[in-house]
Assembly symmetry: C2
Homo-oligomer: 151 residues x 2
């Protein structure tokens, strides 16, 4: 996916999916992008096995881990693919956005994360974006991975 590093940003992967943190915007702490490993243009074209793996081995585990380590209370999921349609011809690839939502302020890795609008639709384009540096990114990923290891 554009702007993501499948090595440095990788949180974990399953048989069909790759989970990456989205370090260029952590307005919603733990914001991640989940990409199907094979080429697939849209959500209904996923196989039954892929959608079950997504629900059980990505969404369930990732929600549980982020809830445990950061205290997220709600999780916003979306499958959009708008960016790809700015080009002609479009070349969409199925991916999901996860934005954890927080009622309370979170202090983590020396930084403070505040959900700017809990209870309302996430800001599609936060201004400014909440970029995190490599060290903070690595700490966020490690915290989630450690929790997943305990699950």
């Amino acid at each position: 996916m554009q702007g993501l590093d499948s090595v440095k940003d990788l949180v974990f992967e399953t048989e069909y999916w790759q989970v990456m943190l989205f370090p260029s915007d952590q307005t919603y702490l733990g914001r991640s992008v989940i990409v199907l490993k094979r080429p697939c243009p849209d959500m209904p074209s996923m196989t039954d096995e892929e959608v079950i793996d997504f629900k059980n081995n990505v969404a369930k585990k990732l929600e549980r881990a982020i809830r445990a380590v950061f205290g997220a209370e709600l999780f916003n999921w979306s499958c959009l693919m708008n960016h790809s349609f700015r080009r002609s011809p479009p070349n969409p690839q199925v991916h999901w956005h996860l934005r954890p939502r927080y009622r309370e302020v979170v202090n983590f890795a020396g930084e403070t994360f505040t959900d700017p609008n809990f209870g309302y639709h996430y800001l599609p384009y936060p201004e400014p974006e909440r970029k995190v540096n490599d060290e903070v990114r690595d700490n966020i990923i490690k915290a989630i991975k450690d929790q997943l290891g305990q699950a």
Copy 2:
């Protein structure tokens, strides 16, 4: 779901899901809400059967029908549940939002529908909302249902 009429707004239903048009905002023509029939608080709590039914019998068929009748080119899916978390305690119920996206202007039922920002994230709160009256709502639903009947 709040603000929806499960009789007047109903497009179709499957074993597990109810598909309703969202007549209070048709900025993205065909915007719909898909609600799980049984109580279920979050996406990972769906059963395998429910998520497969959603993909195969809701998403695939609804996308195909709306593409055929209105010319939608892309479909934005989201599962958010923010509104429920404004209350305490929250009482979320799994539902999906579908916003079809259009490169071209669509003329239908004597009305003109223009996607204001194709290629970009949908407007979460369009101002003003594009309400449609009962007659236009019924025509939109009928067009989708007729197309589903032919599929």
